[in-house]
């Protein structure tokens, strides 16, 4: 098992290097000279030359990359052109907001997706199965920014139950924090709930056909006990790990959700940076997101090995 884990970790390193090259290359796609963007109205050749020297723009591409990646490895993701602050500080300030939203969305997705998947599998080919599949497909097909707008319209504007936008940190007032994040978290978790529903259904259908389930039924156990104690416990392992793999995709959804609900998180940071042509921030956010995503995948892999006794003892 250790050697498998070692191989998995070793595979990550070249991926991270390639991600860093990809992120670095993003800047090369930018039309025009970055020095001109940074200089703004200033067109003095001396100032432009100074900017180019400071940013290593007058060096060959390979040297620029090694300079940039050297800084990244020392924790320097660059300097925001607009806010005039290190990108790392901005990332550290915004990441907890998105992490809270993502974790709440994950919990909501499990609470909705797993029970729906169980019902769908147990009542296979019944009305409940078709209804759950239909709801799941609808969940996958709904753009989360539209769902967010519709929820604001109904829950906030019409019913006045929850605030339509804004964010209160958990440490400041947990009640207000939950009130401001529950609706965005539901919107963010909606598509994940649909994915989990499909995984749970498929895993439960496989588990319900196993010999141990037949044995449990033959022993005369109640059906609910057979389903929840015997089938679900085995079906949940792949579901939870596959769900963890999907956690990274929540980061994508967070971009739009945070925009709709005006939540000052990671997603809003990248959108604001895009509109202000603050390219170091865009690069930094993409790099951090990719690293978080790769790490989550690794954690999911490890969790799968630990949760599955057959793989653990292999």
């Amino acid at each position: 098992m250790r050697s498998n884990l070692g191989v998995r970790i070793a595979q990550i390193l070249p991926t991270l290097v390639l991600v860093s090259i990809m992120v670095f290359c993003l800047q090369q796609l930018m039309p025009g000279d970055p020095a001109l963007v940074l200089a703004g109205e200033e067109r003095d050749p001396a100032v432009l030359a100074q900017i180019r020297t400071e940013l290593w723009l007058d060096r060959p591409l390979a040297m620029q990359y090694f300079h940039w990646i050297g800084n990244v490895l020392q924790g320097d993701l660059g300097f925001s052109w607009r806010i005039r602050e290190p990108v790392l500080n901005l990332v550290i300030a915004k990441l907890p907001v998105t992490a809270q939203l993502g974790l709440m969305a994950f919990v909501i997705a499990i609470c909705i997706g797993v029970p729906m998947g169980i019902v769908s599998a147990v009542k296979k080919n019944s009305f409940w199965d078709y209804a759950a599949n239909g709801i799941g497909l609808a969940g996958l097909s709904t753009p989360n920014f539209w769902l967010g707008i519709m929820l604001i319209l109904v829950v906030s504007v019409q019913l006045g139950w929850l605030p339509p936008s804004g964010y209160v940190p958990l440490t400041e007032d947990w009640r207000q924090s939950l009130a401001t994040t529950i609706m965005p978290a539901f919107v963010l978790g909606n598509a994940l709930a649909a994915v989990l529903m499909r995984h749970t259904r498929s895993a439960m259908l496989t588990a319900l056909e196993q010999d141990y389930v037949r044995t449990a039924r033959a022993k005369g156990l109640l059906e609910i006990r057979v389903v929840l104690r015997h089938a679900l416990r085995n079906a949940l392992v792949p579901v939870v790990t596959l769900g963890a793999l999907e956690l990274g995709t929540l980061l994508s959804g967070a971009v739009l959700t945070e925009q709709v609900f005006s939540i000052p998180g990671f997603g809003k940071l990248i959108v604001d940076a895009v509109f202000n042509r603050d390219y170091p921030v865009v690069q930094g956010v993409v790099l951090v997101t990719a690293t978080v995503y790769i790490s989550l995948n690794l954690i999911a892999d490890i969790a799968y090995v630990f949760l599955n006794p057959r793989l653990r003892n292999a």
């Binding site: 991600v19 990809m22 609808a138 519709m150 504007v157 994508s252 739009l256 042509r277 997101t289 990719a290």
Partner: protein, 299 residues
């Protein structure tokens, strides 16, 4: 054995023979049309395509024509979906917006499959170091979440529908590489591929003449589902202001401006969003239907 039983047996054998002689494509089409949900999806998408193609004739008003006397009018007989903040007819903009969304969906998937399928074919067919290198590059591309990478690409390329399509196409490429690589590796083990090799065909000919036609079904399924994803991605980029630029209509950009008038004019948000949902839902239904129809294990 009575004459009727013999006739019956002959009829049954004839039916079995006739079924065996049907082409796999014809059987798949028959299986597809036996699924009401997939047929419904196909009907909706055909309607959207017709509306998009015939937009100049079908749309009741010019989608960019403003009118200061018609600002934010609720749905009525004259304007079925109401009017927007500039007095433009929402129905006409939804119809014209179908062009942008469907075009973005189809073109970005053409880019993704046009690049991804040959690369996947190469990786799966050649294997070894080529496969390992391509695999690592694909892992790296998949490491950045789809929309974040598309936003970054669209930002660096500049905001426009064309750049949004390129960004979505590039971002969706890795999944086509993966699907076609897996299908190629599966198809390459078949006897007919061995036979083609044994006959002395060069590798490129074996790959393109014998393997490629056999990996089309999974790619078709992936392409249908990818169009659904690309429509959402285009709407998302336009919603953020990185796709179709105003005053040209697009479902995503319509939702963007609708956000500011949610309390006064909710219809501005309802109809374009419903159009996105219906198009994406229908493509997903078709994708599911195709998967079941093209899977040989499907009954």
């Amino acid at each position: 054995m009575s004459a009727t039983t013999v006739d019956q047996a002959a009829n049954d054998a004839g039916a079995v023979m006739a079924k065996a002689m049907q082409s796999p494509a014809r059987l798949a089409v028959r299986r597809f049309f036996r699924r009401p949900a997939a047929v419904f999806g196909l009907f909706v998408i055909t309607s959207f395509v017709l509306l998009a193609l015939l937009a100049p004739f079908v749309a009741p008003f010019n989608p960019t024509q403003t009118s200061w006397t018609l600002i934010r009018k609720a749905p009525s007989w004259a304007h079925w979906m109401g009017t927007d903040e500039n007095g433009r007819d929402v129905l006409s903009r939804v119809i014209w917006g179908a062009r942008a969304s469907l075009l973005a969906g189809v073109i970005s998937v053409c880019i993704a499959s046009g690049v991804g399928v040959p690369v996947g074919l190469l990786a799966g067919f050649v294997g070894g170091k080529v496969d390992a290198v391509i695999g690592r590059i694909i892992d790296a591309m998949l490491a950045a979440p789809f929309l974040i990478l598309a936003i970054a690409l669209a930002a660096f390329l500049g905001p426009s529908l064309q750049n949004a399509m390129i960004a979505i196409g590039i971002t969706a490429t890795p999944i086509f590489v993966r699907v076609s690589r897996a299908a190629t590796m599966d198809a390459a083990t078949n006897d007919y591929v061995e036979a083609a090799r044994a006959l002395g065909n060069p590798p490129w000919r074996v790959a393109f003449r014998h393997v490629l036609p056999n990996i089309v079904p999974p790619i078709m399924v992936q392409a249908t589902l990818a169009i659904a994803g690309a429509i959402i991605a285009e709407a998302s980029l336009s919603f953020l202001g990185l796709g179709q630029q105003p005053p040209a209509p697009s479902w995503g950009s319509m939702l963007n401006s609708a956000q500011r008038f949610l309390t006064q004019a909710p219809w501005l948000a309802i109809f374009p969003g419903a159009a996105i949902f219906l198009a994406v839902f229908s493509f997903n239904l078709i994708g599911d239907g195709l998967r079941d129809a093209l899977d040989p294990r499907a009954k």
